[in-house]
């Protein structure tokens, strides 16, 4: 009997509906959407649009068109960091960040983007929020933080960090790799600016999928 314990990496087993849907797409209508006008292309585009709507409803996003399908959560995070930040900008991250956040920022530091690490104080959200506040400076443009750490299992008070960010006119990116599909996120209530997630963990999708939801008024295209 198999006992699988690596769900933080990717969930297993996937629900039968997931494998059936993927199989159906490949077998019945898997044409390229958004380019052609034939029936299979339109059918595929319809299924993608339904997926956008499901994501919009699940996370209470503003609209379907601000949902970006990425390869995974790392891809979503890279898209935000490299699309939103410019030389001279400063970012505040937590001491619990995944390499998906730290490595691109380390690389971006070579191009004039700086970052500070706010220590997370376990079981003391007040102290944690305060450490973020102390890390903010005049050039801070983004707070980038995990919703919950795959290493520690600790959850950051992202609602409070979002309020803090907005108080200073700063945007916030939340890495929801471990929490999407597990903890509820309501974008209109929580007001998180950029939400990055993996499709293949708590959302039980296939590997090679991720989602980024971003504000309508921000373009991440350079």
């Amino acid at each position: 009997m198999l006992i699988y314990l690596d769900n933080a990496a990717t969930t297993y087993p996937k629900p039968i509906a997931v494998s059936n849907s993927a199989c159906q797409a490949v077998k019945l209508y898997g044409a390229n959407p958004g380019r052609s006008g034939h029936n299979m292309s339109i059918r595929t585009a319809e299924e993608i649009f339904k997926c956008r709507q499901a994501i919009k409803n699940m996370f209470n996003a503003d609209s379907e068109e601000n949902i970006v399908f990425t390869l995974n959560c790392t891809h979503a995070i890279n898209t935000v960091l490299k699309g939103y930040l410019k030389p001279g900008d400063h970012v505040v991250i937590s001491s619990m960040e995944h390499n998906a956040v730290v490595r691109p920022l380390t690389e971006l530091a070579k191009h004039g983007i700086t970052y500070s690490v706010a220590p997370v104080i376990f079981n003391d959200n007040d102290a944690t929020v305060d450490s973020f506040r102390r890390a903010i400076n005049a050039s801070t443009r983004l707070i980038a933080c995990t919703h919950a750490s795959n290493v520690w299992g600790a959850r950051l008070p992202v609602e409070r960090l979002t309020a803090l960010a907005h108080q200073y006119g700063i945007r916030i990116m939340v890495d929801a790799a471990q929490t999407a599909g597990i903890f509820p996120v309501d974008l209109q209530n929580d007001r998180i600016d950029f939400l990055c997630m993996a499709g293949h963990k708590g959302l039980y999708g296939t590997m090679g999928t991720g989602v980024l939801i971003h504000p309508a008024e921000i373009s991440l295209v350079r």
Binding site: G34, A45, E46, E65
Partner: protein, 76 residues
């Protein structure tokens, strides 16, 4: 009367528009915008057999960007 289509920017907006119009009991069909009519290369149009003026008004009210109109005869 010439049958016309509303040109939209992408398949996503075409899908969204079709749904919006359906809620207003206006039927529509998504078609690929001919390359010679599209400045972006990958755009889609909505064929609206009836009430196209009303449909356009509804879509604009919903914030859908409409690039213009083309004749159905231009679509293969």
């Amino acid at each position: 009367m010439t049958k016309q289509l509303l040109m939209l920017t992408s398949i996503t907006y075409a899908m969204k528009s079709k749904q919006i119009l359906a809620k207003h009991s206006i039927s529509s069909e998504i078609q690929r915008t001919p390359k010679n009519k599209s400045s972006t290369g990958c755009s889609y149009s909505l064929y609206i057999p009836q009430n196209i003026d009303t449909a356009e008004k509804i879509l604009r009210e919903h914030g859908i960007k409409i690039l213009g109109r083309i004749d159905k005869s231009d679509v293969i």
